[in-house]
């Protein structure tokens, strides 16, 4: 008969080891779960802060450039605003031949300087051309709207690189369709019509601040609360106004939320909320 020399654990040893392992595992699990909650909560709060910052950056940037007195606000409510958002700035190098038809008007702009986050989009962008009129006075200065039909790369007559624009212009009341009304060196602004609004995408349960342009609507900032975007409009006496042409200040109030619930210190599931209020002064209203 063979003598068994192998050693083993006694039952007591095994039980003690298992109990100890359970205690340690439970402790580690608790630490891990706790850390995961903290991490998740922190990430959610960061996302919330980033949403708030995005709202505080994007909305005022477009609102500042508005000239409400010249109909840059085409619709407004407490949860939505439709505006002409300036996207490009170019300089005329060959003037349009005014005095005749305003449809199919051609002129050149310089390639440099030409400012904007993107190039002009023919067929969807519209233009505002600086109207000088009588150059002896500032009181008739303004902007002539036009629709950009097409453009091609084509040098200015001074040989510098440029673009040839074909537009359908529309002189406003008081503007004279005469040679020189839109002079050499006149700035040309490109704009698109955009809407910022409280928006819930189809199939989504969350609200967002939506951005709508010719391409459609997409969520821009969010998620936000059901009352996550509130806009108020003030005139130059700081009085609330419903007249789109009298708006001098826009108050933006954003209430954002996290996309997930997170446990607070008392281990209760909550949706953290943060908000900001900003009054944006419109820089481009007519001055005199």
């Amino acid at each position: 008969m063979r003598h068994l020399s192998r050693k083993g654990f006694t039952l007591v040893e095994l039980l003690v080891a298992l109990v100890l392992l359970s205690i340690v595992s439970a402790a580690i699990y608790k630490v891990l779960v706790s850390n995961d909650r903290v991490y998740t909560a922190q990430m959610q709060r960061m996302e919330l802060s980033q949403n708030i910052r995005a709202a505080a950056t994007i909305l005022p940037a477009d609102f500042r450039t508005l000239d409400a007195s010249d109909s840059d606000i085409t619709a407004m409510s407490a949860t939505s605003i439709t505006i002409r958002a300036i996207r490009q700035l170019a300089i005329v190098c060959d003037t349009p031949a005014l005095g005749g038809l305003l449809a199919g008007l051609t002129f050149h702009v310089r390639k440099d300087p030409l400012y904007g986050p993107r190039m002009f989009a023919a067929g969807s962008d519209s233009l505002l051309m600086y109207y000088e009129g009588d150059n002896g006075t500032r009181f008739d200065d303004g902007w002539t709207p036009a629709f950009l039909v097409s453009y091609i790369a084509d040098n200015c007559t001074d040989g510098k690189p440029g673009y040839k624009f074909v537009v359908n212009a529309n002189m406003l009341t008081g503007q004279v369709n005469a040679k020189g009304s839109i002079p050499y060196g006149a700035p040309v602004l490109g704009f698109e019509t955009v809407t910022y609004k409280l928006y819930k995408p189809v199939g989504d349960t969350s609200w967002y601040i939506g951005y709508q342009n010719a391409s459609g609507t997409q969520p821009l900032i969010g998620p936000v609360l059901a009352n996550g975007l509130t806009l108020a409009y003030y005139d130059n006496t700081n009085t609330v106004t419903a007249d789109r042409t009298q708006v001098a200040i826009i108050e933006v109030r954003v209430r954002a939320r996290t996309s997930q619930q997170v446990r607070d210190a008392g281990s209760v599931l909550r949706v953290p909320v943060d908000s900001f209020v900003m009054k944006v002064s419109l820089r481009n209203n007519r001055r005199f």
């Binding site: 340690v24 580690i28 891990l32 910052r53 300087p113 002896g136 006075t137 500032r138 040679k179 209203n285």
Partner: protein, 393 residues
């Protein structure tokens, strides 16, 4: 002596190390995320600061605008001005930040300023990534003084016309100036003489031209000669480039040894007779002081805005291009062989215009081009009437 027990087994150390690693990783992750968040927030704050610096930069540039330097530059793309320069240091008070950029003269009236601003921390930092910068454009328009000119001669006093003297309200481009530099948009023929009382005009027939030749306008009041929009006569006089006491002067363009325009010469009132010269674009605001005295100009030429507290007498074939504003009276004599004494407009609170002793042609010709040039070359700038603030990228 220590004895190693070779068959000792256990997991405590391994578990402890594992737990420490896991907890450490989570803590490090949380710290990293927190640090990143803090940095983003700080960058955002600095971006706001840079925005304020940039916007202030545009305003500082307007406030420190010197027409005699800025307005004489060539139109882009022939020229542009870079700031900071001798006029504009490009710093914001209290070390908030600094700005730099370019001024583009787009045409005779419009300027585009392209300004980039940075906060003070970005200026000190040598790391490119640590820079907070914003860029704003300002569309500036020459802020021309609104003289309300409606005639070649605007007056409240009597006017006596004789000899070959003429007051002509029809628009003229100065003979020596090219039409290419004169934008005639919006031109309409003005009155020859615009006065509060047309009965005081003697010898108008054959000597006055325009629509109408003589305009009786009861809105011509003492304030017509004192208040011009939001600027009054005293403010305008305080902006003068040249101030002289009454006397008998002969003014003409003068040049430094290197051929540049000698602007330190108080009798150099520009070179309207030769716009291509170094003084051709020099349009000073000239102030002749002393309301009790008379000044005589006896040759050769001047341009800009001439403000006369007292009386003004013109001799010979003196040529002036621009606006003349006289608080006292105007007397002209002669005319010489060169046509016209004044191209632009004259406003005289009390005029005694006698030309009958003169030979040649002494005339006052309304010239929108000369008026516009004088206003644009001497005017300060302000933001354009609308949409002058542009976010640049």
């Amino acid at each position: 002596m220590w004895r190693t027990v070779r068959n000792e087994r256990g997991m405590a150390l391994a578990i402890a190390i594992f737990a420490l690693v896991v907890v450490g990783a989570l803590v490090a992750g949380a710290l990293f995320a927190g640090t990143q968040e803090s940095r983003v927030a700080e960058n955002n704050r600095r971006l706001q600061k840079a925005f304020g610096v940039t916007e202030s930069g545009v305003n500082e540039l307007i406030a420190g605008w010197d027409a005699s330097v800025r307005n004489v530059g060539k139109i882009y793309p022939a020229d542009s001005q870079h700031v900071p320069d001798a006029l504009e240091p490009g710093t914001i008070p209290y070390h908030t930040g600094a700005f730099a950029g370019n001024i583009y003269k787009l045409n005779g009236e419009l300027y585009l300023v392209d300004i980039s601003g940075r906060d003070s921390q970005s200026i000190k930092s040598t790391q490119r990534s640590a820079s907070a910068r914003q860029r704003i454009g300002g569309l500036l328009r020459i802020r021309t003084v609104n003289f309300g000119i409606q005639g070649a001669l605007t007056t409240r006093g009597g006017v006596k016309l004789a000899g070959n003297a003429a007051v002509d309200g029809r628009d003229h481009i100065p003979t020596e100036w090219g039409a290419a530099n004169c934008d005639t948009t919006g031109d309409t023929t003005k009155a020859g003489v615009r006065t509060s009382d047309s009965s005081q005009i003697q010898g108008a027939a054959g000597h006055t031209y325009g629509t109408p030749a003589v305009l009786q306008d009861t809105t011509v009041k003492p304030n017509t000669f004192k208040q011009f929009g939001d600027i009054n006569y005293a403010t305008l006089a305080a902006m003068a480039t040249i101030t002289l006491s009454p006397g008998n002067y002969k003014t003409d363009a003068s040049f430094n040894g290197d051929g540049t325009c000698k602007k330190t010469d108080l009798l150099n009132w520009g070179d309207g007779m030769n716009r291509a010269s170094q003084c051709g674009n020099y349009f000073p605001i000239i102030h002749l002081t002393d309301s009790t005295a008379s000044t005589t100009l006896n040759g050769n030429q001047g341009q800009g805005i001439l403000l006369v507290d007292g009386d003004l007498a013109i001799q010979g074939s003196y040529q002036f291009y621009g606006i003349v504003l006289i608080r006292g009276s105007l007397k002209t004599a002669g005319g010489g062989s060169t046509d016209a004494h004044f191209w632009g407009a004259v406003m005289a609170a009390n005029v005694d215009l006698e030309l009958n002793s003169l030979t040649g042609n002494a005339t006052l010709n309304y010239s929108k081009c000369a008026i516009t040039e004088a206003l644009e070359r001497t005017g300060a700038v302000s933001l354009a009437r609308s949409r002058s603030w542009i976010q640049l990228f």
